[in-house]
């Protein structure tokens, strides 16, 4: 449980002893806290599309090498094209 001093410190950082701040536009009525969360979701969504996935460059090189070995557009693996191994094996 938080001690009184810890509680006072957190209270100084996050002063909640007031009505919520809101954003009002026509019929839209949102608390600032909810607006912050929505903006964060949009930012994370954009980053998820834009940021490269770890290992993407290494996998792309491996695919190019495999394509060179069997011909462009060929299938390098039995039963279909290249896949990402999920069992920890070589990519």
């Amino acid at each position: 449980m938080l001690s009184a001093s810890h509680g006072a410190l957190l209270g100084a950082v996050f002063n909640l002893n007031h009505p919520a701040h809101t954003v009002d536009w026509e019929f839209i009525h949102l608390s600032v806290a909810n607006v912050v969360v929505i903006v964060l979701m949009v930012v994370v969504f954009a980053l998820a599309i834009l940021l490269p996935f770890p290992g993407a460059a290494r996998r792309a090189q491996a695919r190019k090498a495999a394509a060179g070995a069997v011909g462009v557009g060929g299938t390098a693996a039995k039963g279909g094209g290249p896949t990402i191994r999920t069992d920890g094996g070589p990519q």
Partner: protein
């Protein structure tokens, strides 16, 4: 591809419902599809992470909620460990909705219902809709001034829609039952159905990849069905 051998025409079909159920299950979802050891290369993107992040946060929600249900309101209000688990439960719910909404946006903009995946999309959308009252019943089950405020505000909305007498948000016993049994069971069942359908139909490919397959192999592979032709083309699309 199916793991079920061709039926022997000399052997009469079994009349046992367990055999028929098993054969239908294995035909619909053979083991290599149920528990695959690989995924198409286009899955190597951050936007495909948010579905499993939703499931991870749901597991934390169920685990922390089980402990809260076992210990009761006095424990989560008046002890340090109870406060901790109460906070874990709250913030895992916040994270669940955060990542589930991003998952929903991602799947909406890539039209994830393509290639016969309509039921995958519908089960996901219904899961989101059922999760909202699941969270609401949790907020009104806290047993504090916050829950009193939320329940009296929500009561007006429920009465206005006409369901206030069936779904009484000021009735703690009813809300608690909804929150710890009925709605979680519905959410978990829907998530299981959602994941099994994804296993059956495969992860939806990017739209550009489906279009490329449709123009190059229109006579052999249906667009966006996760078939072999689609996977082989993913080499070109992602390199």
């Amino acid at each position: 591809m199916s793991a079920v051998p061709s039926p022997d025409p000399t052997v009469p079909p079994s009349r046992s419902w367990t055999v028929r159920l098993r054969e239908r299950g294995v035909t619909a979802l053979p083991p290599e599809k149920l528990l695959p050891d690989g995924q198409p290369t286009y899955v190597a993107s951050w936007i495909y992470v948010f579905g499993v992040a939703s499931i991870a946060s749901l597991i934390v929600i169920i685990g922390s909620g089980t402990i809260l249900a076992l210990k009761g309101p006095a424990w989560w209000h008046y002890t340090g460990v109870g406060h901790f688990f109460n906070s874990i439960h709250l913030w895992s719910v916040e994270l669940f909705f955060f990542v589930m909404v991003i998952h929903l946006w991602g799947k909406y903009w890539m039209a994830a219902w393509r290639g016969g995946r309509g039921r995958v999309w519908v089960t996901g959308a219904i899961t989101f809709l059922v999760a909202v009252p699941c969270a609401l019943t949790g907020y009104v089950s806290q047993q504090n001034f916050d829950s009193q405020w939320i329940s009296t505000q929500a009561k007006d909305a429920m009465n206005a829609t006409g369901i206030g007498s069936f779904f009484n948000v000021t009735n703690f016993g009813q809300m608690y039952s909804y929150h710890i049994l009925l709605l979680p069971v519905a959410v978990v069942a829907l998530v299981i159905a959602h994941v099994l359908l994804i296993r059956r139909h495969g992860v939806v490919p990017p739209i550009t990849l489906s279009q490329r397959i449709g123009s190059s192999t229109a006579s052999t592979a249906p667009s966006g069905d996760g078939g072999p032709g689609e996977q082989s083309t993913s080499t070109q699309a992602t390199s």
